[in-house]
Amino acid sequence: MLHLALFLIFGVIAVVGAINLIAQTHPINSALSLVVVMGSLAAEYLLLGAEFLGAIQVIVYAGAIMVLFVFTIMLLNAGAEEQTRGSKVAIIIGIPGMVIGSVAVAWALIRAHTGAEVPVGSLYGSAQGIGHLLFRDFLLPFEITSVLILIAIMGAVVLARRES
């Protein structure tokens, strides 16, 4: 019961943080909202018994990637952006579309014929579990991901390189 309550609380925090991220006009506030989202996701992982994933989520996303976001915002000295009133199309089509879409997804998921239930934490949450997955079951995707990251770094360097 406590478990479910905590899960819901962190879920709500994550959603509120995500909405706040969009609503804020100052990039620092948006970035910090994203940190909150990442943190509450980490808490959700912990509640699901994926403690390794939760810790990594904090270290990598909240601790490293978002610090770089904040660093960039500070470096560019980005100020608050001007709030536009929002286009009519977004209001007339976007909002109802979003509502219909989320209701449809929610309805589909609630009506889903769930299969066997799995106890919390019985899957691959531990460091050993993740290790087995990465180095045995998903060895090739894992290695391919390293090429992917190499490309991401190289691409950023290529596109941002100054004229020599």
Binding site: H113, F138, L140, V147, M154, G155
Partner: protein, 514 residues
């Protein structure tokens, strides 16, 4: 605690991943050699990359031989590596060769072009090699994680390649649009895959298919399955630029370096098709009654929008972009005609043939457009190709051959692609669809002939000669020979396409489950 190594990596794994390992090694080799080369020697990177492609092709041939030996032992199609996440079946091997050929021709086209654009960097060739690794994963992946990672690997390299001309505003804009829409579609695709994982509890295509089959029998209108199908299909259709998810294609094609536009329209698109066929034929076949109407609608919309929009274009790259959207429409019709549970039906074979001939004829057309890029002339408008006959008759005639082939005129290669699609539609009783497709093929002839008209009937706007290099000449020769030879002697190539589908997916699944 510690486990023996062969639990993680077997000799079969090594053999099956050898084509990718070769590409990765040479890709990194290009990056390192690039640092050592003086600026005037940068074009040597292209040769390193080509050698890498050749080595990779040899590795693919080794896989093919191993497959033949397995067949001799009565174990055809059981070539599974990495705990079932990689299946180097004939389907994959066929696509491997296609990707390697597309990449090789694109590299040949790029050497001089990049020099004119003053962007001759080793990273370009490395990115092409890395993108082929991603494509190979998309063709041979039998696990949604590998498929997705492969897709992202290919997509990410392509984003960078599209934006490679940093001085060109259009290239930057194209890369940004492509990146944003591509990331968006990848997100939708991943969402769909995650729902399938949730339904099946496995990331293996065969397992998901089996679970879906039982699941679908039990509750045929399960909303989650339909939601998953819709989102997955949306992501896939985005990648092959089918209407209504095609808006990125003309902008990305126009802004990208011309050789990359050619590469995107053949190899990247073929990889998208490999992924789509893998998922639709091997994973989602239990849901065929649901997705069939959707595919029919999308293919008709794609044919209509692609052909009509191509009519009014004045930019060659944009025109070919819309024409390539239209070609996707024809291929989707092949999926409509392809039978359930039988990948070797005429429709699917038509798609395979289509992708093969399209590689040669479309790259050929882009090779000619590449030669129009000279110092101070961008050369991608129809006006730029005007009077080509009087300046470079060989190129003009080759371009005519490519255009006629694209329009599907016999006895050129393009005819066979369309022939099998139409044949499959008639075989499966879709007469109305066949009629519409033929009508659009006639419409296609009109806009291809607009280019021919400009080349042969109009005067040249500038006297500047076209820029040809040995690499480009070679690329033109290969593509022209491919287009003509497939057109005149199609049997070998048709047999190759049939061979690629000769192992039904059921045995692949069986191979996995043992």
């Amino acid at each position: 605690m510690a486990m023996p190594l062969h639990q993680f990596f077997t000799s079969t794994d090594y053999l099956l991943s050898l084509p990718m390992i070769m590409l990765a090694l040479f890709g990194m080799g290009v990056l390192i050699i690039d640092l050592l080369l003086p600026p005037e020697w940068k074009r040597a990177n292209a040769w390193t990359a080509l050698v890498g492609l050749v080595f990779s092709a040899i590795a693919v041939y080794k896989v093919q031989i191993a497959d033949r030996i397995a067949e001799a032992h009565g174990q055809a199609g059981s070539f599974v590596g990495f705990g079932g996440s990689l299946v180097a079946d004939r389907f994959a091997i066929y696509f491997y060769y296609l990707f390697l050929a597309g990449a090789a021709i694109a590299i040949l086209m790029s050497v001089k072009y990049l020099e004119i654009e003053r962007e001759q960097h080793g990273e370009f060739y490395a990115l092409v090699l890395f993108s082929v690794i991603g494509m190979m994963c998309m063709a041979s992946g039998y696990d949604i994680v590998l498929l997705f990672v492969g897709l992202e690997l290919m997509a990410l390299s392509t984003y960078v390649l599209v934006g490679f001309l940093r001085r060109d505003q259009r290239s930057n804009e194209a890369a940004l649009k492509y990146l944003l829409l591509g990331a968006f579609s990848s997100g939708i695709f991943a969402y769909g895959l995650s729902l399938f994982y949730g339904l099946a509890g496995s990331t293996n295509l065969g397992q998901i298919a089996l679970t879906l089959e039982q699941h679908f029998l039990a509750n045929p209108k399960d909303p989650v399955a339909i939601l998953a199908l819709l989102t997955t299909a949306t992501g896939l259709l985005f990648k092959i630029a089918a209407v209504p998810f095609h808006q990125w294609a003309p902008d990305a094609y126009e802004g990208a370096p011309t050789s990359i536009t050619g590469y995107m329209s053949v190899a990247v698109k073929a990889a998208g098709w490999a992924l789509l066929l893998r998922i639709f034929l091997y994973m989602l076949y239990p849901l065929r009654p649901i997705y069939l109407p959707m595919i029919i609608f999308v293919s008709l919309a794609t044919l209509t929008a692609g052909n009509l929009a191509a009519l009014t274009q004045s930019n060659l790259k944009r025109l070919l972009a819309y024409s390539s959207i239209a070609h996707v429409g024809y291929m989707l019709l092949g999926l409509v005609a392809g039978n359930t549970n039988n990948a070797s039906s005429t429709g699917i074979k038509g798609i395979m043939v289509y992708l093969l001939v399209y590689t040669f004829m479309n790259l050929g057309a882009f090779a000619v457009i590449t030669s129009l890029r000279r110092r101070d002339i961008i050369g991608d408008e129809i006006d730029d190709i005007a009077g080509l006959m009087f300046k470079a008759p060989t190129e003009a005639i080759l371009m005519l051959v490519f255009l006629l082939s694209l329009a599907g005129i016999p006895p050129l290669a393009g005819f066979w692609g369309k022939y099998f699609i139409f044949l499959s539609l008639i075989e499966s009783g879709h007469y109305a669809l066949a009629t519409v497709a033929v009508l659009y093929a006639v419409l296609g002839l009109y806009y291809y002939m607009r280019i021919a008209n400009a080349m042969f009937m109009r005067r040249a706007e500038t006297a500047e000669p076209v820029s040809l290099s040995p690499g480009l000449r070679l690329a033109l020769a290969i593509t022209a020979l491919g287009t003509v030879i497939i057109g005149i002697f199609p049997e070998v190539f048709l047999r190759a396409a049939a061979w690629s589908l000769s192992v039904p997916q059921a045995s692949a699944v069986a191979g996995l489950l043992k």
